[in-house]
């Protein structure tokens, strides 16, 4: 496939002809340390003003491999309260992010499949007319590279691209479930505030997603905002009448509020939905025991 084919295909996807996010903060990298340097560039863009390759080195660089693993980089992004999201492995998806102003940390294989030479850099722009991409690749200023060459070296690495987004900002593209999973991973890393901002943005984009309401409801409830939490858990139960998860958590929330009859009713319903789904009933029966036990003690 020649240059023309790549750029024509991308124009057909409805992308603008050119996009450029600049200037970003580029770093002169030391040998083999393209991971920390690229990470520092996207973290600075996302609003972490003091990010430097030296400070990031200990957590993302694996000396034995003389390089960095993408999962370590993603973990470090979350540790800074930023949303780490792996984009879909398609050139159009990659450029869509740049078009929306999101720089992307990309992995290229500049060698060959049987003799790889991996390199991280940050994609900051593209030009479909000129057929070039703009990359920060270990120097303070960006460099332009041939679009066709880049499309091959990126595909040879398995088309991997990672975003680091500020709280409340979502990827421009991507499936509902994949985006929500990234926010849940941010919550799992202990970044409750950033995750809450993410869930709120998520249900603005996908207002009918029961999983979105469920996740926001749970995070609100567990962070002490129980009334708002219950509101979103109820929305989830309403949007997904066949699912036991929202009812299970509503049962425990009702129990916590002292609404004991509601708690038992929710827990009973959760068990019957779980049975219809063919799920393991044990956790749902335990919930009933939890809320039902108290019901017997305090009639």
């Amino acid at each position: 496939m020649g240059c023309a084919a790549v750029s024509t295909e991308l124009s057909d996807e409805g992308l603008t002809q050119t996009a450029n996010i600049s200037p970003l903060y580029g770093f002169n990298q030391r040998e083999n340390q393209c991971g920390p340097a690229s990470l520092a560039t996207i973290l600075r863009w996302s609003g972490v003003p003091d990010a430097t390759p030296e400070a990031l080195l200990p957590t993302v660089y694996t000396p034995a491999k003389e390089g960095s693993f993408l999962h370590d980089i993603a973990g470090e992004i979350r540790a800074h309260g930023r949303l780490a999201h792996k984009i879909e492995p398609k050139l159009a998806a990659l450029f869509r992010e740049v078009e929306s102003g999101h720089p992307v940390l990309v992995l290229e294989n500049r060698g060959l499949s049987f003799s790889p030479l991996y390199h991280y850099s940050v994609l900051a722009g593209y030009d479909l007319t000129e057929e070039t991409v703009t990359l920060y690749q270990g120097e303070e200023t960006p460099a332009k590279e041939d679009l066709d060459t880049f499309s091959r070296t990126w595909a040879r690495s398995g088309s991997q691209g990672l975003l680091a987004l500020p709280p409340g900002e979502l990827p421009a593209d991507g499936g509902e479930g994949d985006i929500l999973t990234s926010i849940i991973e941010l919550e799992g890393a202990g970044q409750t505030g950033a995750a809450l901002a993410g869930y709120k943005a998520f249900i603005r984009r996908f207002p009918k997603s029961w999983r979105g309401h469920f996740s926001l409801g749970g995070a609100l409830y567990l962070s002490g905002e129980s009334a708002d939490g219950v509101k979103h858990l109820k929305a989830a139960a309403h949007l997904a009448p066949d699912r036991p998860e929202p009812l299970n958590n509503l049962a425990l929330a009702a129990h916590g509020d002292g609404r004991l009859e509601d708690a038992v009713r929710y827990a009973d319903e959760a068990i019957s939905k779980a049975r219809a789904q063919g799920l393991d009933l044990k956790p749902y029966q335990d919930t009933l025991k939890e809320v039902g036990g108290a019901f017997e003690v305090e009639p």
């Binding site: 879909e88 994949d178 849940i184 799992g188 999983r211 469920f214």
Partner: protein, 129 residues
């Protein structure tokens, strides 16, 4: 002596308490509460996430299938059915090469077309009309 010992005891109690708080997770887990992580790892959620990907929905659209309808149909599968489909996927050769990615992609597209009754590849799928 006993005063010193009881002072020591209360200090160790405070230290123990401090440790307890150190190891509490950021969002306190509640007994029986379904966490967001557990929810998104349900078989149905995993399968839906795959069907929602651009590559799959583009391919379905090119066959004249509405991708939103495809997601709705998969959402009507029970977790047991979704788990069955995921088990079939797991029996395929594992690895990170783009070729294996293509195998997974074909599996997911065929799964959806089976559900919609366009194809009849997998015996474990009952078409939903």
């Amino acid at each position: 002596m006993s005063g010193k010992r009881s002072a020591l005891r209360s200090v160790s109690f405070i230290v123990a308490l401090a440790y307890l708080f150190c190891f509490l997770p950021a969002s306190p887990a509640m007994a029986g509460w379904v966490s967001n992580g557990e929810m998104i790892n349900s078989p149905q959620a995993k399968l839906i996430s795959m069907v929602e990907r651009q590559e799959v929905s583009d391919s379905l659209a090119s066959m004249g299938i509405d991708p939103d309808e495809a997601v709705r149909r998969v959402a009507r599968m029970t977790d047991a059915e979704a788990q069955n489909a995921l088990n079939q996927l797991e029996t395929m050769p594992a690895g990170g090469s783009p070729v294996i990615g293509a195998v997974v992609f074909v599996f997911i597209v065929l799964l959806v077309t089976d559900i919609l009754g366009y194809t009849n590849v997998f015996p474990f799928v009952n078409p939903q009309y």
